[in-house]
Subunit: 354 residues, 2 copies
């Protein structure tokens, strides 16, 4: 592949359910469609903007059919590729790669999850450009490795061979992908300097991705090619595909995977605990979106999706979210446990609130 | 006064602002108009029912002019006496006494606050009958003294001369009225057996009440008689009256004040912390009104005034109230501190939520 004739496409993965941001994220309105970005826009729009910085107008959004309508309301002018049902990132990305390769065999993909925050967008663009150079030169798979700022146990990691240098943008081979570690392991990773957060962003040619799928997950590779070429109906073959992440299915076993370490103010907006990093805190350490009054407490996160006032007194480190017809109250340290509430709602016949 | 010719009237005092039940109680919709009673009715309707058990159809409600409209919606068939502005219970009760005395000079009043809960209504009726007998025989002022069940610091007390006997209904002289005590004093009161909670319910002839006002608070006595007789306009003279409680203005200095000790499941619905006593608790010790799911916590109070779901996880002993366009979150032990929030709202230009 000669880099002179490749055409870059940004693929925004926007199919997640976002359970951990309930009640703001619902089945038909997931977290990437929420106005959580610092300027008040949606996370999806921010991801599209980052993709456009690399790919110009060639941005597609892959989302679930159940979310197409809500997605189109937010970004009416962006091309959507709809999964008939959610089947995780290997199938979703395969469908996008096959669709784009059908129209442009030399397509190079820049894959960006839709539910993340990046403070330093020019920094990210530079890192992606470095990764793309490796992709276009060596037919590599390029990832973005976020320089960790804390011993986070909620993320996967990329291990590299030597300590990550401080400043210059640099392409490093990935030794292995590592699952979410426990606390002690995460602290050892942080101390070693040889582990990076796996941001889930990566670049590869469509041909390479499809070749990897053919090798590692052949039923999926065949199905997405058949759908893209019009030889099969998506709603008939797609639901039968394995639900597996692209990391597990391809990356962990692929050759020539590289990473570009980046310190770009990245965060996964994975739970309400991420909001202070996005929206900042007031002098008392509280974070508020929407009308609120907080007295005698610190470290609280108050989110209201309309004019409903949230009043908090004498409580600290609590998340209070009003969104639509539901209110959530839980400790900030247990923000990951929103899924327990979601499960309880299903079990108690209250699924109408999901 | 001969008891054969007296006519009993119930006067329901419904003029309070109910700040401590914000956000359910608002300036135009105070707590007595909230559906907090165990059966789902309003506290005002429950008070009217208790008054009717003594006075038949002769029940009047005294309320603030700003609350007349909302009150009439709840009890369209009950006579209302409107205070032009709130001036506390001495003026409100004087206005009612003068109005009723004008039409019925022999009127005997049974005065009941509108914002209370009484579990044993027949028991209360019996106690009020005993008090009325003393009123009609001796022209006494009869109060109801609630047998205390805890060392409550939020109530005033009545001191009597000897330990209150257990069972039989009995009329006892009141030695003195006592302000809200501190914790140690309240515990001593509880141990002594000689102190009763001042429930704010009492009986007296209209003539006696007006005579006491003439003696103790003459400007108020004169003004309410003038208003009732049509010699003065309420909106002109009433706002100038002293804002003072009937307890302070009259009871504490009056002769022949008696009490009937009563153990009738009484509670002042003074704050959200009173809700479990009214509405009961589930197996986990949580109290819910409206749709809710509470997991991993105990002692919580969740109130929703519509179909909005309240979901609580991993938090205990917290009050969460959704009412209208506001949500309140505070520790149950600080339920009295709602007024701090109300003050903060005023100070921060958010009075539209009051």
């Amino acid at each position: 592949v000669c880099h002179d004739i490749t055409v870059r496409h940004a693929v925004i993965l926007a199919g997640g359910s976002g359970t951990r941001l309930w009640p703001a994220s619902r089945r038909a309105r997931p977290k990437q469609l929420l106005p959580l970005a610092p300027g008040g826009g949606t996370l999806l729009e921010a991801a599209i903007r980052r993709g456009g910085a690399i790919a110009g107008p060639r941005v597609v959004v892959v989302t679930a059919a159940s979310q197409v309508e809500a997605t189109r309301e937010v970004v009416p002018d962006v091309e959507l590729i709809a999964e008939p049902v959610g089947r995780n990132t290997a199938a979703a990305l395969g469908l996008a790669a096959a669709t784009l390769a059908e129209r442009d065999p030399s397509a190079v993909l820049v894959v960006l999850p839709a539910d993340q925050h990046v403070a330093d967008e020019p920094g990210l663009t530079a890192a992606l450009e470095a990764a793309l150079a490796a992709v276009e030169r060596d037919d590599a798979i390029g990832t973005i490795g976020i320089a960790p700022t804390r011993a986070e146990t909620g993320f996967g990691y990329l291990e590299v061979d030597q300590a990550v240098p401080g400043a210059a943008t640099q392409v490093m081979p990935v030794r292995r992908f590592v699952e979410k570690p426990d606390r002690a392991t995460a602290e050892a990773y942080l101390a070693s300097g040889r582990y990076l957060w796996n941001a889930g962003m990566f670049c590869a040619s469509a041909a390479r991705l499809l070749g990897e799928l053919d090798a590692q997950l052949p039923a999926t590779g065949r199905a997405v090619r058949d759908i893209a070429a019009g030889r099969a109906r998506a709603d008939e073959v797609y639901p039968a595909l394995a639900s597996i992440s692209i990391d597990h299915a391809v990356m962990e076993r692929a050759a020539r995977v590289v990473t570009v370490p980046a310190a770009v103010g990245w965060d996964d907006v994975g739970s309400w605990a991420a909001l202070p990093a996005l929206r900042g805190t007031d002098g008392d350490g509280n974070t508020a979106v929407g009308p609120s009054v907080i007295i005698g407490g610190t470290g609280n996160i108050a989110i209201s999706d309309d004019d409903t006032l949230i009043a908090i007194a004498g409580v600290s480190d609590v998340v209070v979210v009003k969104a639509g017809d539901a209110i959530l109250v839980l400790p900030r340290s247990e923000a990951q446990d929103v899924r327990k509430i979601v499960e309880a709602l299903s079990a108690r016949g209250l699924a109408r609130y999901l």
